[in-house]
């Protein structure tokens, strides 16, 4: 039973449900896309799955990851990575240290850790960027660093929250290819929410409309 399952998930903001109960299986090695108009609660759904639901929301239903019910677990032990639309790189750390923050702690020793980070930077086409201040990166570079940081933590599932919406249209295609290439060979379930039909088409997996 490996994969990510949602069982009749509903989220309420001040007693009004945001969408009809959602049941869904996200298989491994594919990108499943949830599409829907802005404001329907797609990001809130992501928050719920990841364990980041803000105060003021109540949710019911359950999240099953690899056969384990994680609904009541704190975010940090769920092993569900998230890529946010604005990258959320930490401004006080260099690019390399942002990746070190993500890199799983079982990679031990200074040299081994530095090598792992260099490899990840190379894969992102950012070799030699370790000492850079994240604020000096372009939007596309920030997004690639954010994906690498997420993957270095070795998540068991990945959530993509409108990952391309803040980018210029001509960059979007490049980054889509980069993101999907990197996660397809990971053998983990990936769930993306977007309001852009082109994202769903590029992901090439099942598409589930939410609300509307």
């Amino acid at each position: 039973m490996r994969g990510l399952d949602l069982h009749s998930v509903t989220i309420r903001a001040a007693d009004a449900p945001l969408f009809a109960p959602l049941t869904l299986t996200v298989p491994r090695s594919t990108v499943t896309t949830i599409v829907g108009p802005s404001g329907i609660g797609k990001s809130t759904l992501m928050d719920f799955i990841g364990g980041h639901l803000a105060r003021g929301f109540t949710a019911s239903g359950s999240v099953i990851l690899d056969g384990r019910d994680v609904t009541r677990l704190p975010a940090e032990v769920r092993r569900i990575g998230i890529m946010f639309q604005d990258a959320a790189l930490f401004p006080h750390l260099s690019v390399g240290d942002n990746l070190a923050f993500g890199l799983a702690s079982h990679v031990r020793g200074r040299v081994a850790r530095r090598d792992a980070i260099e490899v990840a930077l190379k894969q992102a086409g950012l070799a030699g960027f370790a000492e850079r201040d994240p604020a000096t990166l372009s939007g596309g570079q920030r997004a690639r660093v954010a994906l690498m940081r997420t993957l270095l933590a070795e998540p068991c599932a990945l959530l993509l929250d409108e990952p391309f919406s803040k980018l210029d249209p001509d960059l979007r295609g490049d980054l889509r290819r980069f993101v999907f290439d990197h996660i397809r060979d990971r053998d983990i379930p990936v769930l993306m929410v977007t309001h852009d039909e082109a994202d769903a088409a590029a992901a090439g997996g099942p598409v589930i409309p939410l609300g509307g």
Binding site: P74, A75, D86, A88, P91, L93, A100, A104, S105
Partner: protein
């Protein structure tokens, strides 16, 4: 036209700040330094020498005083900062910035001396806590013989400083957190497998600290050089350095003035060195923290630590609140023998006793407070208006200038300033006290008013200008009325700071001008808690009245103006 007018205004403000604020501090430091090296013509000392320093080092208790100062200053600041950060981390989701600020105001408004006296009433062996738990829990029929106040380790002093500093840090931290994407970074960190507490330490704190660095230095400087709390709660023999210096300055033996000046100079060296040391520790923490972060460990849960810090802060706040209540109870008590939890008989006699003279002290406090606040608010408005007209952001040196009186220890220049005032013929009067207090009131007024002033919607002023209103009319008819609420709040803060001043009043008034604070501190070492309670209650009540006025007046004047209610501040 506007440009030259702006320039004139700015020149006037600059002259006032330089002549009224910076010059007195520098002149005071200079005179103190001269006396520290043997030159004080007023007592016939005219030869440069190191003699004052030799005498200082030989004074009984000097080494212990210095050690106590460093211990209480660093311990209280570090602990207050850790507790405040921990509390903020544990409670962040539960408190909005506004609600938190409202909760903290009573603690910030209460003058140090009143809070310290209340705390002494609370934790003394014969204090309220001992009475509440005796004899049923402790078996005490008499107050136990332990020093819980004025203990030689300075623990009571540290507790008093914590009660005062933690709320200040919390306010500063809440304001700084509102500028950071805390929620997003918490989510990002936790999605990478880090616990909430670890994310706070590794991600939020490094971004938060640079925003609160200056207030941390202000608190450290305050804790290393505070006098009034240290007299009330601190070790008595030997006391911390600042109290020892005050005693030497005021001693009947005038030859002690020279070593006292040397010690005052040393006091500023302690503060400067202390801040430098703190800065070094910051760097070290940053380096170690970076290495720790790079290792990527998720394992250590800091959650229990955060909860403990949160609990400790709640206890501190509770102690502070009880301290204020105990002031009131004692001022109304008549017969109250030891282990009873409450007085057996109540009386207004302490309030009505003619000899206690609180009416004169209240009058002095009011006159000085109102005068100081008026001068400071007027100067602050002139300064901000000058910045507006010049369309210039505030220069770094100007910001430093505002913080200068808060960073330099009072004791380091007040005696020297008294020498200067004496020469100018204004020592020992109200003018001298008002001037000296304004040095410390102005910075707080300025800090409180700057942000709301800059937040004023510039379109309103452009609209006024387009309708033909000149700069003066824009100031009087648009800015001041719209900014009435923050101006009143800044004034209330200034008034509270003025009421709390101890050392400037004591030194500049040459001991002849009694305010509620000077009287309360003097009485605190005496035995009649009822009379002390009266002074401390009045001292604590005045800032509250000022804050209530600051809330009520704009609310009343703007009662038909929904757009001005609760907006700016």
């Amino acid at each position: 036209m506007t440009a030259t007018e702006g320039r004139t205004l700015r020149l006037i403000v600059l002259a006032l700040v330089a002549g009224g604020l910076v010059l007195p501090i520098l002149a005071g430091l200079w005179e103190t330094a001269r006396a520290a090296f043997g030159v004080l013509p007023a007592i016939g000392a005219t030869d440069w020498s190191l003699e004052p320093w030799h005498r200082l080092f030989a004074l009984p208790g000097f080494g212990t005083s210095l050690t106590l100062t460093l211990w209480t200053g660093f311990a209280s600041t570090a602990l207050a900062l850790a507790l405040a950060v921990g509390f903020a981390a544990a409670m962040y989701d539960r408190f909005g910035v506004k609600g938190g600020a409202r909760l903290l105001t009573p603690f910030l408004a209460t003058p140090h001396a009143a809070l310290a006296i209340g705390l002494a009433f609370l934790i003394a062996p014969s204090g309220w806590i001992a009475r509440l738990i005796s004899p049923w829990a402790t078996g005490w029929a008499l107050p136990p013989d332990v020093a819980t106040v004025n203990d030689p380790m300075g623990l009571a002093l540290i507790l008093g400083l914590l009660v005062k500093e933690v709320p200040f840090f919390l306010l500063v931290i809440l304001a700084a957190l509102s500028q950071l994407p805390v929620r997003r970074h918490l989510s990002a960190g936790r999605a990478l497998g880090y616990g909430r507490g670890v994310v706070w330490i590794k991600v939020i704190l490094p971004q938060l600290y640079p925003l609160i660095r200056l207030p941390v230095y202000v608190v450290l400087s305050f804790a290393l050089s505070v006098v009034d709390i240290a007299i009330i709660l601190g070790p008595s023999n030997p006391p911390v350095l600042s109290v020892a210096v005050t005693r030497w300055f005021l001693a009947a033996d005038t030859s002690l003035i020279l070593p006292a000046s040397a010690a005052a100079l040393l006091q500023s060296a302690v503060v400067i060195g202390g801040i430098a040391l703190w800065r070094g520790a910051e760097r070290l923490c940053a380096v170690l923290g970076r290495i720790w972060t790079r290792r990527g460990g998720r394992g250590v849960s800091a959650e229990p630590g955060l909860m403990a810090a949160g609990g400790a802060v709640v206890v501190l706040m509770g102690l502070g609140a009880l301290a204020l209540v105990s002031l009131l109870i004692w001022s109304l008590a008549w017969r109250w023998s030891f282990p009873n939890a409450l007085p057996e008989s109540w009386s207004l006699k302490a309030w009505m006793r003619p000899g206690s003279g609180w009416d004169a002290a209240l009058e002095n406090t009011l006159i000085i407070g109102i005068a100081t606040t008026t001068v400071s608010v007027a100067l602050a408005i002139a300064w901000l208006e000058g910045e507006d007209r010049a369309r210039l952001p505030r220069a770094g040196w100007a910001e430093a200038l505002i913080y200068l009186p808060l960073l330099v220890p009072q004791i380091a220049f007040l005696y020297g300033l008294q020498v200067v005032f004496l020469r100018a013929g204004i020592s020992g009067g109200m003018i001298a006290v008002i001037w000296a207090q304004a040095l410390f009131v102005f910075p707080y007024v300025m800090i409180a008013l700057s942000d709301p002033w800059r937040a004023l919607d510039p379109r309103l002023l452009r609209a006024a200008a387009a309708l033909g209103a000149g700069p003066v009319r824009r100031l009087l008819a648009v800015k001041l009325p719209i900014l009435l609420r923050p101006i009143m709040t800044a004034a209330a803060i200034g008034f509270a700071v003025s009421v709390a001043q101890y050392l400037p009043t004591l030194f500049m008034g040459s001991g002849r001008i009694a305010t509620l604070t000077t009287e309360a501190v003097t009485l605190s070492s005496g035995s009649d808690r009822r009379v002390t309670g009266v002074y401390a209650v009045l001292q604590a009540a005045l800032p509250f009245v000022a804050y209530l006025t600051a809330l009520a007046l704009p609310a009343f004047l703007h009662r038909h103006r929904a757009g001005l209610r609760g907006g700016a501040v």
